[in-house]
Subunit: 147 residues, 2 copies
DNA sequence: TTATGTGCAAAGGGTTTGCCTATAC
DNA sequence: GTATAGGCAAACCCTTTGCACATAA
């Protein structure tokens, strides 16, 4: 999600037919400030201390709403957990299969190529493009070598 | 999975420390003959009539084994179902968010670019690259327009 | 022969849904 | 004021695991 004032965020929500509640505002702010592509559980744990009555269910529902509105992307599933990204522009990720770490990747050329080609390659409509490099991160490689 | 004789398939399994059982053979053959990226349930339904004692659990375990061995890829998750592909070369997919249809996509240039760049873009090791175009297929667009 | 895989049942765990209350518009 | 969202609990459903038996090597 791009840097937005509360007012801009409210407009974005309303344009999507959604209301901007205090819970949703807090979740959006948390997601926008993160680059680790958190799952629902992590978002909940980060946000709960700042709002006592925040519930895990609300985070689930908020993420579904954001995804439907195109304001956030479900970028991967790791060990059954959905992982989210507030950055809704075509960009690539690296997923470590061992620890689940997801990094942004600067594969600009490939992303440009894919973004520009996507619509020509398919019959239907294109909503977004996901590019993921799957492997093992350095930390896990080091740990495995040491063990 | 490439076209293989039973003998070649057995060698591939054994090289991965796996045994080629009648169940696994049947599942592999089914997966190799499909281009719709089936989930476990669909594989099971296709294979069950040809082997009475085949169990759903075995399909789950077989797919996990194939994935670990790099003989099949879990290419997407749709509505909580893991979807599999026997073709383990870098290629792109189109996923229809409405109906879950997954097609192969001929985005050769982008795939080549991504495959050649991937290792340069990340610190860790690269196991595979997934490229997915997400949108709505023509059938669903038509259905929506007609409704 | 012996480690590996299968079948079954039951548990596990992330996610969704129904209902009532609270709140954004 | 009214439709929408939150809170809670219970249900859902895909998937995994433990154990005894079967089987590939």
């Amino acid at each position: 999600m791009k840097r937005m004032t509360d007012r801009q965020l409210r407009s974005a929500f309303n344009a999507a037919g959604l209301r901007l509640t205090r819970q949703r505002l807090l979740i959006c702010r948390e997601l926008a400030g993160r680059y680790d592509h958190p799952d629902v559980e992590h978002l909940y744990r980060a946000v709960k201390p700042r709002m006592r009555q925040m519930s895990l269910f609300t985070v689930y529902r908020t993420m579904n709403a954001l995804e439907s509105a195109g304001m956030a992307w479900r970028v991967a599933t790791w060990k059954g957990h959905a992982r989210y990204d507030g950055n809704v522009e075509t960009h690539a990720h690296f997923l470590c299969e061992k620890c689940g770490r997801i990094d942004n990747v600067a594969a600009h050329d490939a992303c440009r190529e894919m973004a520009s080609q996507a619509q020509k390659c398919v019959e239907g409509s294109v909503r977004r493009v996901e590019m993921m490099i799957v492997g093992e991160c350095v930390a896990c490689q080091t740990a495995a070598a040491g063990a």
